[in-house]
Structure formats: structure tokens, C-alpha cells
Symmetry: C2
Subunit: 365 residues, 2 copies
Amino acid sequence: MVRKSGLFWGVPLATMVCMTLAHTVTLRDVAEKAGVHPSTASRALNARSRTLVNDQTVVRVLEAARVLGYRPNALARGLKTNQTFTVGMLLPDLTNPLFPPIVRGVEDTLGAADYTVILGNTDNDTDKEVAILGTMLNRRVDALIVASARRSASHLAELGESGLPVVLVNRSTDNARLPSVSGDDHAGIGLAVRHLASLGHRKIAHVGGPQDISTGLARYQSFISWMQSEGLEVDPRLIVFSEWFHEAPGAVATTELLERGVEFTAIVAANDLLAIGCYDVLAERGMRVPDDVSVIGYNDMPFSDKLNPPLTTIHIPHYMIGVRAAELALELIAERDVGGQSVRLTPTLVERASTSRISTSLPHA
Amino acid sequence: MVRKSGLFWGVPLATMVCMTLAHTVTLRDVAEKAGVHPSTASRALNARSRTLVNDQTVVRVLEAARVLGYRPNALARGLKTNQTFTVGMLLPDLTNPLFPPIVRGVEDTLGAADYTVILGNTDNDTDKEVAILGTMLNRRVDALIVASARRSASHLAELGESGLPVVLVNRSTDNARLPSVSGDDHAGIGLAVRHLASLGHRKIAHVGGPQDISTGLARYQSFISWMQSEGLEVDPRLIVFSEWFHEAPGAVATTELLERGVEFTAIVAANDLLAIGCYDVLAERGMRVPDDVSVIGYNDMPFSDKLNPPLTTIHIPHYMIGVRAAELALELIAERDVGGQSVRLTPTLVERASTSRISTSLPHA
DNA sequence: ATGAAAGCGCTAACAG
DNA sequence: CTGTTAGCGCTTTCAT
């Protein structure tokens, strides 16, 4: 293992790099050393065209490449072939624990197909997003995977229609027929509402996400719809929205909810981070979870099982979402044919300690 | 905002992309439209060489580029200039909450200088690391930022000596004079040991990290050294090592520690994830933190304040580590001159609820 | 099975 | 200040 770590193709990295960086060994050098024309060397080096070349020649070329420590220049190749084997991925913020598993899913899948991904954190800032899209376009990415879409993001649709493969992840846009991969929000919220209902809760509040993001809207709408189908009253005063999927906005929304003074025994949060905001405010006011209020989150983000109390939540197969998104991108790249497909993965309920049967004692005012 | 989101340089994205992708607008098209020679258009388009061109011509070229939705081809430019404005970053696993803040620090800083970073997850697998390094080299990255180094990683030194700027992050290698940016492990462990000592703890255990990683070794050595300078006995039976910086290995190590049956009242974990492993095993055995055992972590990773109990830990300025690493890389790119600099950022103690004054009751057996 | 020739899109001397 | 020329390193017809 250790010896191997210093080698490329059996050549010491040092040698290889010296050559690569100092004088840069090119295809011509390899060809010369092998005593063939550069074009022959090219054919021998590429698995696809290798069959066109005499077996012995192939061996000679490969050997020459190995000895010289030849590294094919991806820029030159991309310029020629008009394919960069690069995919751009847009996301709001890598620091949000939701995203690393998705990114890993994307990178692992794309990496296995020899693609490289370049990441862009938009921080929910349109200017930044445009700038990042700009560099990605300049770099001639073969596809775009977008996890930062807002409902109104029409430019993505335009990009997609222009022929560049665009796959939406986790979120969709309103009027676009862009292929997307996400969890099934309606089903997930159903799991949450029915779980609480089965525990005897009837006065259920919703701490919703931003409504300009598809998941925020979908989870809110699903909340209403499932409450109704469970025969539970939907009190608009028990519904609040956060500005953003983060703890602080979640805390703000929860505070607002509490200050409305309407009685409830459980909260469906649109996201785990928002649920943490609920935790914080509830704890501040001396209300216990789940004794006084049950809280259910959404996403089953990493470490949600380590919270106090461990968070009952809806599990979304994040890694798999990344995998499927990457697969879709690969298909689109290969076929240049979009079917407006949308993949929805099935969520599951993860029961932990933040929800419990409604207490018989008096609920808070 | 919304209108802006659909525009590049004031040109509808759709138009732009159609042109870009369908027929691909090149410099020649722009030049033609502006009635100048391509090289003049090139000069006008690049801020640096713009001064060489007549002001009116510049305006005409810029206008033509805008109208046509011209996007400079980064591949062609890179091929010509031998500079890709790309930096490769190697890390063990993006899913480890330690890394996203570092990555953001790197990307924000590099992004501001118009560089793009490509990430590679090595999963602590040498073959994978070599493969990733290979693609990065093929893509002619301008520099490498490495957060996945093991102590024995000699190939990185070779790369560095070959002229490619390499910056180590968070970890260093044994025999390499590679510039690095990391937290000061010795100072950090000092904070931890002295904190516990000040709370009256004398029998302190160490759940150490992998010893083939510089931070694992440094924290272990620092632990010994600080225990001694605090006048506390170092019992080798109170020191265990984990195979890897993760919860599960941390739990394994803690179990081993417990099974040795030697009495202790506090644990210094080499990392927050390991501390979580401690939490898990301790809870399993009915031992309370901090009442029975105080636990202190290392890193102050995201959500360590939400654990049960909130984890006392050593804060490392992760984002800033990323920033400094990127700055160093930028300097190296500019100057091609390495000084083997190593930046150590100062850690701080974050007192939360997992450590407390030693209880007067009997410690466990 | 291999060589010759051309060109991807851009920049950078060098002329003028 | 602008045009000419050449070529970065590679792939890909087209010949042979």
C-alpha cells in the first residue's frame, strides 16, 4: 500500500511530476519515444480506439507513456472533443448537513464514470448563483446538477431547453419541465401527521419552511391536506413560516407561534434544522419535549439521533438522491434527450424520542 | 432580483445559452461583429490587456460580446496560458462535519480570486487518492490543497518539490517540508487537560485518534506532556487509540478502556466524533456525563452544542483554516516559491455541559 | 494499421 | 493601437 501510494503506473510520482510540470511530456514525446506518429499514439492510448492499432504498437506506446510519466492534458482533449467530463453542482451551502451526503452520492456516481464535479455554494444569493453559473458555463460543463433552485428560477429552465442537461435535486421549479430527483414530500408529511395523530395529537402546529422553495411549499400544502384527511382541524394560527431552512429562523417562527397563544400539543417542522430552532425556543420557555410538546422533524440529517432528545423525523435517502441525480445527468449527457422525468424517492418515519403519546395533563395555554 | 436572475450581462440567459451551446459563439464571432481582428477582441475582453486597445474599440467589442452572449472558453484559454484557475482539494470524507467549514473557507477565498476548486474524497483509501490525484494532474490544477494527508504520505512531498504548489490542511506529513495550515494541537490539548485539572480531575483517560495521522499523534503526545507538566500521573492503561476518527471506532476504544477496569473520572477525546463514541458507550453502561465521567472533545464541530449533554470541547477556527490555506496556495501560485511555512491557528476552550467538577462520591470501578 | 493534415478557441510575440 | 502569425496538446477525418 505504502509503496503503491508513491506510484502512478508504476512510475515514481516524483519522476512523473518533474516531467509533467517541468518540461511537460506530451503525446508527441510519447509517440517519438515509441517511434510512431502522434495520432497512432493517441489511438493506442485511448481504450476506445485502441483496437485500431497493432497490438505490439499498443504495447510500445503504453510502455513509452509509462516510462515518460505521460499525463494526457484534459484541457486539450476537451477543447478538441467538446466534452469536458465535468459536471457543475449548485447548492445553497455545503455547511448545511443535508448536502454532504447528496454531494457524495453525486460525486461517487459521477466519479465512477470518470466525471469530475465542481461545486458552487450560492448562499441563496442570486448574484452569486449567476456568477457561479457563468464560470461553469465557461468551463463547458457537460451537465448541471442543481440543488439550490427556487420555485421562480426560470433561468434554469432556459438553460435546460438550450440543450445543456440540467437535473434538479431535492427541489423543483414551478414552470419548468426539468428532470428532478427528490424525496416524496407529500408522503413524508403524511407519515409525520399520521404518526402524531396515532399518538393522540389533534392540535398540531406546523413550522413551515420558506414558501418560495418548492419543498417549503409542498410540505406546507401536504400538511394541510393530511390534516384534513385525518379529520383534524387546521387552525391557520397554528401555522408559521420561517424565512429560511435554518435554526435561527426556525426559532423566530416558533416564538411567533408561541406568542399567538393558541394551544397545541405537537409541531411538524418542515426540516430538522427548523426542529432544532423549536427545541431551542421550547427549552428557553421551560417546555419539555416531548412531555409538553412533541416535535417531529424532516430529513433525518446526520446527528439528528444525537440531539436532546433524539429527534423523531422523516428519513430521506440523501445519498441515493445524489446517486439518482448523477445517473440521470449521465443519461442526459449520453442521449441529449430529456423526458422531464422526475424521480421521487420514498421517505420513512424514524421514531425517536421527541414525540410521545399526548399527555393527559393539561396542555399549555 | 428575479429579473436579474435570468440575465447575464443583461442578455437573456436563453439567448445566451442557445448561442453558446448550439453554435458556440467564439472570439472570432465577436471580433467579426465588432469589425476587428480576433486578437484585438481578445485584448479588449481581458481586463489586463484592455489598456492596449482604443477605448472606442473596447466598447464595440464588449458590446458585441454582450449581444452575442459570448462566453470565453476556459479550456482554450487554459491550454494556451498554461493556467487553469483550478485548485484541487483532497479530503477524507465530505460527510465528516469537520470538513464543510474548511471547504467553504477554501472555496470562498479561492472563488474571490476567480479560482474554482475540485474536490476529491479519498475515503482514506490510497488507491482512490492516487486515482483522484491523477485526474487532478490531468486537469492541470494550479495547486493542491490536501486535508487527507497521512504521516507517511511521501508522494505529496514529491509533488510539492516538483513545483506544484501543495498546501497541507489540518494535518502534516512526517518528513515533508510542505507548507501547512492547522490548529495548534499542543495548545489545544493543554486547554483540555488544564480545564479538567482545574475541575479537580486527576485520573484522566485519553481516547486517542489514529496514530498514523499527524493530529492523532500530536494530540496523544501533547496529552502525555501536559499531564506531566500538570503533575498528573500518566497511566498507560488509561490510554486507548481508535482506528479512525469516527463514532464507531471511538466507541470501540472506549469499551476497551472501560474493560481495563482502571479507575478514571474524565476523558480527553482526540476529536468530537470520538467523544460521541464515548457518550454512546457510557450511556449504554448507565454512566452519566458529566456526573460520573467528564468528557471533553476536540474541534467544536457543528452541532456539538446540541448533543446531550452539550459537549465541552476545543474550538478550532475551521473556516479560517480553509481561508488561510487558500491564501497560501494563492501565494505559492503567484510566486512559485515555497518557504515551508506552517501556520498554526490558536484554539480556544468552549465550556459546555459535558465536564464538571469532580464528584465527591465514589468514582466507578 | 499507420501517417498526414487540419483545427478545437484562445493568447502572445512580433510587425507594422 | 491593431493585424499577422503561430501554436498550446490533442483527436479525427482522410489517405495510403
